[in-house]
């Protein structure tokens, strides 16, 4: 993928290694080195994907996954930013919350799935809670560090203009630490997508995660791979959207 931030010429080279792998894969399939039932050729997967798109069957699972992800990610971003700023601006809240955060943060979040099943049932609430739990800690930690790392000159400048505490947070602290908050959200984006797929595999009757597992169990391997391709494209698209949003939200990053 050519990106403006990369040195000239890298854009062309970035496509080479995946192309080589796909060629070898295709060739191996055609020469009969692989089992075509377990590992269909890339061209067959593309054909399955095209059929999936043409039939319109791609829509419902995609909407399901993206919907869960967006709700979970948004909640994670809001909660993580809020607690991060609260902990960074109040010693009392820091003292109160820090042990709790340090207790919950290192838990591998999939380990909480059974607990969530018990309390939230097998359904959307569990799936969203999982994405929130996975996404909020990277945002929280990044936000906290971003706020603590703000230059005193900036904060003192704002203080001499007689602004209230709430305005200090909304007009100075939040925008000034936005680059770090977004860095945390970038990590949360990746983790959130992993967790939403896992959640769908374990607790859903719909969605990309559910489809992949379901098609594997019913031995429709080409379609299963087609959905994995959809997932790859979805991840790439989300990163792209995030890149664009970040460039527009913090155009000053690395320049001031």
């Amino acid at each position: 993928m050519p990106r403006s931030s990369e040195p000239d010429g890298i854009g062309y080279w970035a496509g080479v290694s995946p192309a080589i792998v796909l060629c070898i894969w295709e060739l191996a399939g055609r020469l009969g080195w692989t089992n075509p039932i377990l590992l269909p050729n890339p061209t067959q997967i593309v054909a399955a994907l095209a059929a999936l798109v043409a039939s319109g069957g791609i829509l419902t699972p995609l909407v399901h996954t993206v919907g869960l992800f967006v709700v979970g990610f948004t909640l994670a971003a809001v909660i993580g930013t809020g607690i991060g700023i609260a902990m960074a601006t109040s010693r009392r809240l820091y003292g109160l919350l820090e042990p709790l955060v340090e207790m919950l943060r290192p838990i591998p979040k999939p380990a909480l799935v059974p607990v969530l099943f018990l309390f939230l049932g097998i359904g959307k609430a569990t799936m969203i809670a999982l994405v929130v739990l996975a996404g909020m800690f990277p945002v929280l930690i990044s936000t906290y560090q971003g706020v603590r790392g703000l230059d005193p000159v900036l904060l003192e400048t704002a203080r001499t203009f007689q602004i209230s505490r709430s305005r200090m947070i909304a007009s100075i602290i939040l925008p000034a630490s936005l680059p770090m908050i977004l860095a945390g959200m970038r990590v949360a984006l990746g983790l959130g997508l992993v967790l939403v797929i896992l959640a769908e595999m374990l607790a859903a009757q719909e969605g990309i995660g559910f489809r992949i597992l379901d098609l594997e169990r019913s031995f429709q391997i080409r379609d299963m791979f087609a959905w994995i391709v959809v997932l790859v494209l979805l991840g790439a698209a989300m990163m792209k959207v995030f890149d664009v949003a970040e460039r527009n939200l913090v155009p000053w990053r690395g320049r001031s």
Binding site: D151, V153, L154, E156, T157, R159, T160, F161, Q162, I163, R167, S171, I172, P175, A176, L178, V250, P251, W252, R255, S256
Partner: protein, 269 residues
């Protein structure tokens, strides 16, 4: 609008951390800038000049003694006492364009007045030579222009006292002279009280009515010198004035201390 700002027997001690000795930044400094006065403070680097201004701005409090704005002791940052930092890039709000940076001090005003205040801010930008740059962002401007934005924002805050912490030491020599002249113009127009901290003796003389000379640690007030140079000051005429040169000699000698004086004398013999 201006106000008197005074330091009344101010002592500032920074407590030593982890067994280090306490550090006496100021020892019993009494100094006052009258209403509409331009006071410069010079001293060797590391003598805590910035601490003096930070106390005046209410950002830190003195260990003993009082900082007085008019008759009121300064505890929290008082309204109308505005601090112009040397690090203009850090003091501007990077996420706001130029006009919104300048508008910042006025945003607590009622919405109905916003249009009028915005026009006022455009006028401040014109006064600092930045008309037409309203929609630019700080990172799109040169260092000198960024400091101009900070100056326009300070004007928007309607300063009674403007505290200048080596505001021009991070820009090139020519820009520095332009900004000094600009500052004097604005000061003559608005007549706020100005306290400038600098290690540039010529800058201090060029701008100020009086120059306070501080000694090295623990910092105490060494002497206060009246700058009896005519106004308006001019970058060429003022700096070539014989009185300017003798003041420069006197203050530089005072800063360098008695040892240097002896050397100078020895060299002449």
């Amino acid at each position: 609008m201006s106000e008197r700002l005074g330091f009344d027997h101010v002592t500032k001690v920074f407590e030593g951390q982890r067994g280090e000795a306490d550090f006496v930044a100021f020892d019993d400094v009494t100094l006052q800038a009258g209403p509409s006065e331009f006071l410069a403070v010079v001293g060797p680097s590391g003598c805590g000049k910035s601490t003096l201004l930070r106390m005046a701005a209410g950002l830190v409090s003195p260990t003993a003694g009082k900082v007085l704005l008019g008759d009121q002791p300064v505890q929290e940052p008082p309204p109308g006492v505005i601090y112009l930092f040397q690090q203009y890039a850090k003091s501007l709000f990077a996420w706001r364009n130029v006009i919104d940076n300048v508008m910042f001090p006025l945003e607590s005003a009622p919405r109905a007045r916003r249009g009028e205040l915005r026009r006022q801010c455009q006028d401040y930008l014109r006064q600092v030579g930045l008309a037409g740059f309203e929609e630019k962002y700080p990172w799109q401007l040169s260092g000198g222009m960024q400091q101009r934005v900070a100056i326009a924002r300070a004007l928007a805050a309607n300063p009674r006292v403007l505290l200048l912490d080596e505001p021009f030491s991070a820009v090139d020599a020519l820009t520095r002279m332009e900004l000094q002249s600009l500052l004097l113009q604005l000061w003559e127009r608005r007549r706020f009280t100005a306290i400038l901290v600098t290690h540039d003796v010529e800058e201090a003389i060029f701008l100020a009515d009086r120059v306070a000379v501080l000694s090295a640690r623990p910092t105490a007030l060494k002497e206060i010198i009246d700058v009896d140079l005519p106004r308006p000051r001019d970058q060429l005429a003022t700096r070539e004035h014989p009185r300017f040169l003798s003041l420069r000699h006197h203050i530089t000698a005072s800063l360098l201390g008695p040892n240097e004086k002896t050397n100078e004398h020895a060299a002449l013999v």
